[in-house]
């Protein structure tokens, strides 16, 4: 299988799997004081906190492990809103956030929390002038993302952080800034201080860790109300028995990520560019979704193939053992075209023809070449069958 859907979920690294096996079968005690096995498990969680914290320039006790990136987003946004009992509270976010963020906002709207949406340009970059004007005395939290999962845009988080910080000073109170970093950790360095981030969400399975684990960074002093309650844990935000097996796997994935970060990014960018050049050279009538060049995350490519529909392309590639994703309405359970592609100005037809390729450190050059060799005839064949014809060139 050639797996180019790593932004949905990546394969677990063998080393991470091995770390989990050890915890599952040998180091399975619940974190507890005094005993060898209990303190061993407690140290496992502490070391994992330390490693992720150090990777993002934070302190150990500013990191907690959640059950997923989605849970981290929930705790961050809901917890921040609930911690400040503001009159007519508002969340500031954008129209292209991950579904979890938008779903949390929608759920909170029913409780009277208003959502202020900032727009994006044609490449998916936040319109930061709108951020400045969206923040006011009602703002409970600002939630944006590091890298857009659908179009690969590396968002100007540090610039946004500066605006949130300055707005906080203007209003005379700290407005917490949450960044969904789930699709960014594998290719864009984060310094929580440089970006002035107060809350950040992470997902283990996007960086070759196991599914069922995420993490939340909470800057010291940031007030977040817990959403669930249970037996005592290392943090009130995540009560109950920690998922030490999952945390061990996530920790190993962070270890691998930090060890080869620059090399991996260079590798993924080179292969992504090889794929992009191959597509541009061999397939006419295409549209790049998201930015070109440095503004785009290294593992990410998303093209719309005009005059054909993306689910059919995805299905043909699937039959060749190549896994990709599409923003077509036909492939969505709701039959709606991808909202992010619509937000950057694509029309329905262009959104339907979109195919997203997301690479990983394990992607090889041979896999990229094979993907190109399979993709080109699939697009040609579907175009030959299509009711829509490319325009006839003028003047022969």
């Amino acid at each position: 299988m050639i797996y180019l859907d790593n932004y949905r979920s990546a394969v677990i690294a063998r080393e991470a799997w091995e770390a989990m096996r050890v915890v599952a079968l040998e180091q399975y005690a619940v974190p507890a004081p005094f005993t060898q096995c209990g303190t061993g498990s407690a140290e496992l969680v502490e070391n994992a906190q330390k490693r992720l914290a150090s990777f993002i320039g934070a302190e150990q006790n500013e990191v907690v492990f959640t059950a997923s990136g989605t849970e981290a987003i929930n705790i961050a946004i809901q917890g921040a809103v609930k911690a400040r009992r503001l009159d007519q509270p508002e969340i500031v976010t954008s129209e292209i956030e991950y579904p979890a963020t938008l779903a949390v906002c929608k759920a909170l709207e029913k409780e009277g929390v208003k959502t202020r949406i900032i727009g994006v340009d044609g490449d998916g970059f936040y319109k930061l002038d709108q951020l400045e004007s969206a923040i006011n005395e009602h703002t409970a939290v600002v939630s944006l993302m590091g890298v857009n999962h659908m179009i690969g845009t590396v968002e100007p988080i540090a610039e946004a952080g500066r605006i949130v910080d300055e707005s906080s000073k203007r209003l005379g109170r700290k407005i917490p800034f949450h960044v969904d970093y789930a699709s960014a950790l594998q290719s864009v360095r984060l310094s929580v201080d440089d970006a002035r981030v107060d809350l950040a969400s992470f997902s283990s399975n996007k960086i070759h860790g196991p599914k069922g684990v995420g993490a939340l960074y909470v800057r010291r002093g940031t007030r977040v109300t817990p959403l669930s309650f249970g037996s005592e844990s290392y943090s009130p935000l995540v009560p109950g028995t920690p998922n030490t097996m999952g945390i061990a796997g996530f920790d190993k994935a962070v270890d691998l990520l930090s060890a080869t970060f620059e090399m991996d990014v260079t590798h993924m960018r080179a292969l992504r560019d090889r794929l992009a050049v191959g597509i541009r050279d061999r397939i006419p009538y295409i549209l790049l979704n998201g930015p070109d060049g440095d503004g785009r995350a290294a593992p990410h490519l998303c093209y719309s193939f005009l005059f054909i529909e993306g689910e059919a392309v995805m299905m043909f590639l699937d039959m060749e053992g190549i896994v990709v994703d599409t923003g077509s309405a036909c492939a969505a359970a709701t039959l709606k075209p991808n909202y992010i592609l619509m937000a950057i100005g694509r029309n329905h037809e262009q959104a339907h023809g979109s195919i997203r390729f997301t690479l990983s450190r394990y992607t090889t050059e041979a896999e990229i070449d094979m993907t190109l060799d399979k993709l080109v005839p699939i697009v040609e064949r579907l175009r030959a069958q299509s009711t829509i014809r490319p325009p006839v060139p003028q003047g022969g």
């Binding site: 059919a312 329905h348 009711t387």
Partner: protein
């Protein structure tokens, strides 16, 4: 629950029968639109003595099930008289494929609509048979039988989701009953607007969720 295609859908998607164009077709019709995500064009070659479909081809802009349903309805229509082919239903087409996921059932409707439109053009243009094109509650109801509620894969008339149909000088009002947080609310309303909007005599369509 896993949404999967049957082996037969995959076979017809991979190697569609009757794909292509008939030059000098006796009738040809296009249904759907690229904006909606699927479009099909059906071409017919008909023996005018016997009214039998001698050849049929189709083109498709759409997903795997769109291509597969185009393939199966052209197989079903070939060799039949135009009356027999006109009677092919979308349920029959879906059954021939071993079933379709409910959310994909509309592809079968589209394919059958494409075939029927081509047949009706032939009947009208070649045979001089006129269809009832009056705009009333009955004809709108019939048209709405082609609008499916995606999670169930059945039409909104059968599912009793349409509560009211009103017509005032070409302005059509349709009232439906769908939960306001139903994720299929918008796609269903879009489908109603598309289907009713293309009926002759319709100037505007307003759908209200009551």
């Amino acid at each position: 629950m896993a949404i999967k295609y049957t082996t037969k859908v995959i076979e017809h998607f991979k190697n569609p029968h009757n794909i292509g164009i008939i030059e000098n077709a006796d009738a040809c019709a296009t249904e759907g639109s690229p904006a909606c995500g699927d479009e099909i064009t059906v071409y017919l070659k008909i023996n005018k003595e016997t009214d039998r479909i001698e050849d049929v081809k189709f083109q498709s802009y759409g997903c795997a099930s769109n291509i597969a349903t185009g393939s199966i309805i052209t197989d079903l229509a070939k060799g039949k008289t135009v009356d027999e082919a006109e009677a092919i239903t979308w349920k029959q087409a879906a059954e021939e494929l071993g079933g379709l996921p409910p959310v994909k059932m509309h592809c079968s409707v589209l394919a059958v609509d494409g075939l029927r439109s081509a047949i009706r053009k032939y009947k009208r243009d070649v045979k001089g048979i006129d269809y009832d094109s009056s705009l009333d509650v009955k004809t709108i109801t019939e048209e709405l039988r082609h609008v499916l509620y995606p999670p169930v894969g059945a039409d909104i008339i059968t599912l009793k989701m349409v509560k009211y149909i009103g017509i005032d000088d070409g302005a059509v009002r349709v009232e439906v009953s769908i939960s306001s947080d139903d994720k299929f609310l918008d796609p269903t309303i879009d489908e109603i607007v598309e289907h009713v909007g293309r009926m002759s005599g319709v100037k505007s369509v307003h759908v209200e969720n009551v």
